[in-house]
């Protein structure tokens, strides 16, 4: 008798607890390995940022070794600096992050597809702009998450960027045969097309 009552009591208690779930907290995705690894993993979880970095690296590689070297150092530094600025910013609401990401993909894709003859300085300025804005939005997101480890995450992001740009721009620099440059330009056209469609998505309010 006692056993039956006990069992029923447990069952009722469990069901009652199920009716009071804890609230869901919005936060950035973490790897569980610490803030630096969260930063390293950022590009695996944020395809918009990864694609923008890849596009810039390909553009720099297409423009030669001088542009590639400048992008290699300017992009991570600008991303880190933008992130630091974002970490100290509160209440940032506009413009939306997606529209900036979409337009940067569109711009970089067009530059790659048309193989426009940008000087190395222009590539460096572009890297500073892209890195600064994307990093800023990363910083704002980290600040809103309130983990307090934003700087360490930004270090992880910058290190990953350095490796990504080094590999992708080196690949594009070595693309000397005509067919290899065409492959890079086709990839650029696809990035630009994706950026334009993403812009449409954002404007349509579907995201």
């Amino acid at each position: 008798m006692f056993e039956r009552v006990f069992k029923r009591a447990i069952l009722t208690a469990c069901l009652a607890v199920l009716f009071f779930p804890a609230r869901a907290d919005a936060h950035l995705v973490t790897t569980g390995l610490g803030p630096v690894y969260d930063g390293i993993g950022h590009f695996f979880l944020s395809p918009g940022d990864a694609l923008a970095a890849l596009a810039l690296a390909l553009l720099a590689g297409l423009r030669g070794t001088a542009a590639g070297r400048r992008a290699l150092f300017v992009l991570p530094v600008a991303w880190f600096a933008g992130g630091l600025a974002g970490l100290t910013t509160t209440g940032w609401t506009s413009p939306p992050e997606e529209i900036v990401g979409a337009l940067s993909l569109l711009l970089l894709g067009i530059f790659i597809a048309t193989d426009i003859a940008l000087p190395a300085v222009a590539v460096a300025i572009l890297a500073a702009l892209i890195g600064g804005t994307h990093g800023f939005f990363n910083g704002v997101g980290m600040h809103e998450a309130g983990t307090g480890t934003g700087v360490l995450q930004l270090i992880g992001v910058a290190v990953t960027l350095f490796v990504l740009v080094a590999l992708a721009s080196a690949l594009a620099v070595t693309a000397k045969p005509m067919w290899a440059r065409i492959v890079v330009r086709v990839a650029g056209s696809w990035i630009g097309a994706s950026g334009l469609l993403w812009t449409g998505w954002v404007l349509h309010g579907l995201k």
Binding site: I10, V186, A193
Partner: protein, 230 residues
Amino acid sequence: MKTNSFQSSRRFAWLPATLILLALVPRAQAHIVHGEAGGFGSGFHHPWSGLDHICAMVAVGLWGAQLGGRAMWLLPVVFPMVMSVGGFFGLIGVPLPGQEIGIALSALLLGTMVCAEVRPKHLIWPAILVGAFGFYHGHAHGVELPPGQSGLLYSIGFVIATGTLHLCGITIGLLHRWSAGKLTIRLAGGAILACGVYFLWAAVQPETKETAPEKAKASAVEPANFWQYV
């Protein structure tokens, strides 16, 4: 008797244990990222979902391979780029009259070009023709995009699938170096042309009471949500 009671208790124990575990689940985590795989999957699937799109995109690759040289890569670059412009207009709610007819004409005319192995003097003409049809296809995709998924990954999947279809056409078009292959490609163009005739016939059919609401629902575009960002 004691043994039976023990066994009964053990059998029953899983229920409260499961319920306790369910009740003690941690707070929902990492819910910002959602719809990522679905977004890429649906984007990649979309161009393959209609025979009219497949015909036109493969025809672009075939024609590019027939023309050879720069055309082989220029046409497959032009099509996705202009298609994304069409998709953009579709997404922001700009209407395009005669959409179905335009798509049907794309299969019909591109099939004709491949079947007759038309070689324009300047490369700009194939580029304009392919670009114009790319706009129609992109617009159709733009007004049919499903809500609630990652816009970027949908777009990436969509563009990659389109490019893959072009690559299929180019790969088949590599048969052009053999005389039997030339004939095969032209026959493939003829098949696409026949499909285009069917698509055009279907597109110009008068709307019935049953099909009209479905068509209106499919082509309905929500007003653009542009001004909230200005």
